[in-house]
């Protein structure tokens, strides 16, 4: 059941100079949330933000009725949300969008770049429950942008690449040594991050002939299928990223490899 509700800010945890986790409490029992779902958050205290902002649901706790979001500051909305104070009301529409599938195969690789890590805590938890084996490959330009590795570890091995080489392997995620060789130890890949990265990951998946799901971003006015602003080209024509995504199997997309 989609809901529009005033959540109460419980607090932020700043992870580095530009990203934080914000935790919010629902006024009533949480609607069930699936890994991959997102929410539309209203920013009501800035003269420069008009529309809601979409964020993946980072974590959901039905016992405490809390949602949390991993947010990277890139503009006014994410900046202002980072300044909300304990007790402030924040209006949220959730849960929105579809969810990652439960793959048939066992060995799953998660590839996350930048703020693309956001959906994968919930995903890791769910896959663990399903008895899957997950490996997280996290990439960033700079080592200081690699955050939350400790939060991922309970759900699988964590591999890292950084372009500055100060943490994990040097280079981009797609250059990580796990991709070397013709065969893949992984039977299913899920990815979220900058579009060029996701395209490259999709290319690898195709080459290695493993199934692959991507979580797309888009410019959204509504988040729930009303505006048709957020389309992506698919083999069946344009689809709404907010209702028919954000998760797409790469076979649905018209991306060239």
């Amino acid at each position: 059941m989609k809901k529009v509700e005033d959540f109460r800010v419980l607090g932020h945890k700043w992870l580095n100079y530009s990203s934080y986790i914000i935790e919010l409490e629902a006024p009533e029992p949480l609607s069930p949330v699936q890994p991959g779902n997102f929410a539309e958050i209203e920013i009501s205290n800035s003269p420069h933000v008009f529309l809601r902002r979409p964020f993946s649901i980072f974590d959901a706790n039905p016992l405490t009725n809390t949602l949390s979001f991993y947010v990277k500051v890139i503009g006014e909305g994410t900046r202002v949300l980072g300044k909300a104070r304990k007790g402030d009301k924040v209006n949220i529409i959730y849960p929105l969008g579809n969810a990652f599938s439960i793959p048939e195969k066992k060995n799953i690789l998660v590839v996350a770049g930048g703020s693309g890590i956001a959906p994968f805590i919930l995903y890791g938890k769910a896959m663990q429950k399903q008895g899957k084996q997950v490996t997280f490959l996290l990439g960033a330009r700079k080592a200081e942008d690699i955050v939350l590795t400790e939060m991922f570890r309970p759900y699988g091995e964590v591999l890292i690449t950084t372009e500055d080489g100060l943490l994990g392997e040097k280079g981009m995620v797609t250059q990580h040594s796990i991709f070397i060789g013709k065969d893949s130890p992984f039977e299913h890949i899920v990815t979220c991050g900058p579009e060029p990265m996701m395209k490259a990951v999709a290319g690898i998946a195709r080459k290695k002939k493993v199934s692959c799901e991507v979580s797309l971003e888009n410019t959204m006015a509504c988040g729930f299928g009303a505006c048709l602003c957020c389309i992506v080209e698919t083999v069946d024509g344009n689809k709404c990223v907010c209702t028919e995504g954000p998760v797409f199997n790469i076979n649905q997309l018209t991306w060239q490899t």
Binding site: K2, F50, L51, T219, M220, A221, F224, C227, I231
Partner: protein, 304 residues
């Protein structure tokens, strides 16, 4: 209880609050958020003769108190609407009003003919003002002669209430209104979006895939309100006003400026229950001000 009902030519509305084409899907997207049946009407998204994929991505740019869109009439065509969509939504206790589009006058006429046959659909909104399509659309709405031609051609094949939606991208909106009324419009709706543009200074590229798009939201409200007032003074048919209506006070202002009914557009994206909240607020306003019928407010702006 105050009387909220209004009529747009033969179309009877239980209250003045409706939702704007392209901003409210077919109503189905909103059932989880509000009671759709409380609306007087849903202007559903733009319909064309054939299936259209719409414009390339990105289709949206946020602006100060507004947004640009370049959706470009993505829809599955009139036949699909009649066969698959309308049957799903016809049981809502509200009017479903199709928004009719075309690249040529023949297109408009064909779409209208088909809709004229549909039982339950009591009005259409002729969109001669879409800024997001290359052929047709706004091209009809910014030229007096072609606006009249399109209206007249559609009028000839349509028996029920014909609402013509005007483009604000014109020098003289009153003149356009008079023209389409002369050509047979039963009512006027306005405004459609303003042609605008957004650039990303860092990348030096336009933000929209189509470079330009249509501006909506509170940013345009003062201009829209002025145009409603201009049109109200110019024609005798009912006016349906819109443009940046976010709350009940905005709705009342549009009614005072001459709107018989109003459409809630962009507000639906920010608060999916905006339209019913506006309806509630209009009722409260009437109670507070001792207004027994909303009709008393139409064009009721006090000018000295």
């Amino acid at each position: 209880m105050a009387d909220l009902s209004v009529s747009i030519h033969k179309l009877q509305l239980k209250n003045p609050v409706t939702t704007a084409s392209g901003t409210y899907g077919y109503g189905e997207e909103f059932v989880e958020f509000m009671d759709v049946n409380r609306l007087a009407a849903i202007f559903v998204k733009g319909i064309t003769l054939e299936h259209r994929e719409g414009n390339p991505y990105p289709r949206m740019a946020e602006t100060a108190s507004g947004m640009l869109n370049s959706v470009g009439l993505q829809n599955r065509g009139v036949d699909y609407f009649i066969q698959h969509i309308y049957p799903r939504v016809r049981n809502f206790d509200t009017h479903i009003i199709p928004n009719v589009n075309g690249s040529t006058i023949e297109d408009y006429v064909t779409v209208t003919r088909k809709l004229n046959e549909v039982k339950g659909i009591e009005a259409i909104e002729l969109n001669i003002s879409c800024p997001n399509v290359k052929a047709g659309g706004m091209a009809f709405g910014i030229n007096r002669k072609s606006a009249m031609e399109a209206t007249r051609a559609v009028r000839d094949v349509y028996d029920k209430t014909l609402i013509v939606k005007l483009s604000p991208n014109v020098t003289d909106i009153a003149d356009m209104a008079r023209a389409v009324v002369d050509a047979g419009a039963d009512a006027i709706s306005l405004v459609n979006t303003f042609l605008g543009m957004a650039i990303n200074a860092e990348t030096r590229r336009p933000i929209l895939g189509t470079i330009t798009g249509g501006l909506s939201g509170p940013a345009i409200k003062p201009i829209a309100l002025r145009m409603v007032w201009d049109v109200f003074k110019a024609v005798k048919v009912p006016v349906i006003g819109m443009g940046g209506i976010m709350n009940a006070a905005d709705a009342i202002e549009f009614i005072l400026a001459g709107s018989t009914a109003i459409q809630v557009g962009t507000a639906n994206f920010i608060d999916p229950a905006a339209s019913v909240k506006i309806l509630q607020g209009v009722k409260e306003y009437m109670a507070r001000q001792g207004v027994s019928s909303v009709k008393e407010l139409i064009g009721g702006m006090i000018v000295k």
